[in-house]
Symmetry: C2
DNA sequence: TACACTCGGGCAAACGTTTACGTAGCGCGG
DNA sequence: CCGCGCTACGTAAACGTTTGCCCGAGTGTA
């Protein structure tokens, strides 16, 4: 049976069942206060006419939408999509849907999305973004926010779940040092998120702790979008051709590390014999690269879980700890054997 | 200045500005019918109090939400996340947000999400799912739907954007045949989507066209979740150990192909000398695998674009073609040299 | 018989918008 | 001076829910 143009409303159900709107509502929400016979009649009408409640009206009335907003740099990145998938699962269990926005590391888009999410009156926001254009007290309607992985510097009292990037940077660098590397390059993006900056700091700390100099010439910055491995490949090739010497590479993530691997291969440099490489994230790329890539493993599932739990707490009016650091660990593979 | 617990409403803006609600609405929507002085006063109040319109109320009144639902098997898969990113971009340009749901190839979850999306009164749905539990006439409120990549068999008159999987299957298989392969295995999932089934049909067509028998023993089905390459690796290892002989592999996607590559490597079988391998999707995995993987390239950006355009047309009440097939092409790399 | 109480259910307000309609004031042509 | 049209608003209904309040009928009790 073809449906009418617009979905049937509660009032129509009420009329068809010969009861009042209130009764229909009570039956649907199982609030009691109706006879068994009435219940059957109402449910029959609902089933036969395919009534589905209008969430917009419900949201208006209840002042909550059962929707979570999620601002992500780029869903195409394995780490973020894992985070998103886990978050979606966790929220689905609690009856929430997730609105996903890719700000593509653009502060303007981030701000626009934030405004949109607030306008849609999402019940909370998981923000993986370091956008900085929104002022603290400019966020209206004080919607609960939790940052994951990255956050703006000025995000005073907004809770965040991050990984132990500083330690990750140290672990990776020390691992290279222990395997005899003395000139270790750090490949990173130009304007990186805090989490990435911390990896760089860990790298420098490790060098200094082992009496090695921090050589600015060994800091290799990628200009454009860091997403694609192709750019890392090209940039490193240029560095190699320019005659810079190094015997180890710590890349800010696996995608860049894989690009580095390819550039080294292009140049006939052997890994791990001539140069050893460590990536970050331990994503699928690390496992399937050749040689398999040593990488600092993070736990996006756990980070997502923590972030969701914190946000749900916030939504229910509870307090949560301001900073939640999830540990990392080094996974050793062929690229540093 | 701290915001009050709940966002300020239009009525409060009206009171503060000393005008009626209607006037505020007119100012906000630029409908005219107010003096310059009034406009300034209203806008000042809005700015100072951080008023942001309540979309739930707007949606209720206007009977549309400016939100699109997207049902995806698994956002973690490179192909789907690319599709999602592109779709999000396209819709954002038109003022829509995107609600993403991962049904993880589970019909029950798919149906549940579909119901949720309808309840939220999304303006349209992009569905990448072959779920079958919802009956045609059971979809209430006849919300516009466009299928992308996959679709239920009974989806009578619902438009779809698909890639030319049949041709892709043929291209891959013929490529292997032309390179001397005579016993070509097909690696696929157990209960695959239509698009994947079509790749299998293309494979069989190519074999027959070249006088090669279709050997059921060369059809390698993965049991569980197809997502992770690890399962493909294990399954192929078992097949190798069981003594089945083959000189070519056509894998239903790149992730499986990479798993195959690893299994072959484990077994000391050389690629491409002993066995040649072709994947599907030409994802990033194909480029970074060793040897680099020949693959059937698809164009998720284009598919997303077509799907979004179709859905937007539908939303505006126009008709669209029922089936839109996006071409594929073979990318040759080391795995079939 | 009068009372209290329970059960089953209706009435109507409220949530925050948009928009059709009404109207007061004003300028202006005839 | 009348009537007309315009500008600049205000009034109120409507969208589809939830929920506090009220009420009539039946039942049990004193």
């Amino acid at each position: 049976m073809a449906q009418s143009k617009r979905p049937i409303s509660m009032r129509e159900v009420a009329e068809l069942a010969g009861v009042s709107i209130a009764t229909v509502s009570r039956v649907i929400n199982g609030l009691g206060g109706f006879s068994e016979e009435t219940r059957e009649r109402v449910e029959k009408v609902i089933k036969e006419n395919g009534y589905i409640a209008n969430q917009a009206a419900k949201s208006l009335r209840e002042a909550r939408t059962r929707t979570i907003g999620m601002i992500v740099p780029d869903i195409t990145n394995d780490f973020f999509s894992t985070l998103a998938l886990q978050a979606e699962r966790a929220f689905a269990d609690e009856g929430y849907s997730v609105l996903i926005c890719n700000d593509e590391n653009d502060a303007e888009r981030g701000e626009h999305y934030l405004r949109t999410l607030i306008s849609k009156r999402v019940d909370g926001i998981i923000c993986i973004s370091g956008r900085t254009t929104f002022d603290e007290d400019e966020v209206p309607g004080n919607v609960p926010i939790v940052y994951v992985d990255r956050f703006p510097e000025r995000s005073a009292d907004i809770p965040r779940v991050i990984s132990d990037d500083l330690r990750g940077g140290r672990l990776a660098t020390e691992h290279l040092i222990e395997h005899g590397c003395e000139r270790i390059a750090f490949m990173t993006g130009a304007h990186s998120a805090i989490s990435v900056q911390n990896r760089g700091i860990g790298y420098e700390q490790a060098l200094e702790a082992h009496g090695l100099a921090v050589d600015p010439g060994l800091r290799i910055e990628l200009k454009g979008r860091v997403r694609r491995f192709q750019e890392a490949r090209e940039t490193l090739s240029e560095v190699i051709n320019s005659g810079v010497e190094f015997d180890g590479i710590f890349a800010m993530n696996d995608v860049i590390a894989v690009g580095a691997l390819l550039a080294l291969c292009d140049a006939g440099i052997r890994v791990p014999e001539d140069v050893k490489v460590v990536g970050f994230d331990d994503s699928i790329y690390a496992s399937i690269a050749t040689p398999a890539l040593s990488s600092v493993r993070r736990f996006p599932e756990q980070m997502a879980r923590h972030g969701c739990d914190a946000l749900l707490s916030l939504i229910e009016g509870n307090d949560v700890e301001l900073e939640d650091t999830v540990p990392v660990e080094l996974v050793m593979r062929e690229s540093t054997r």
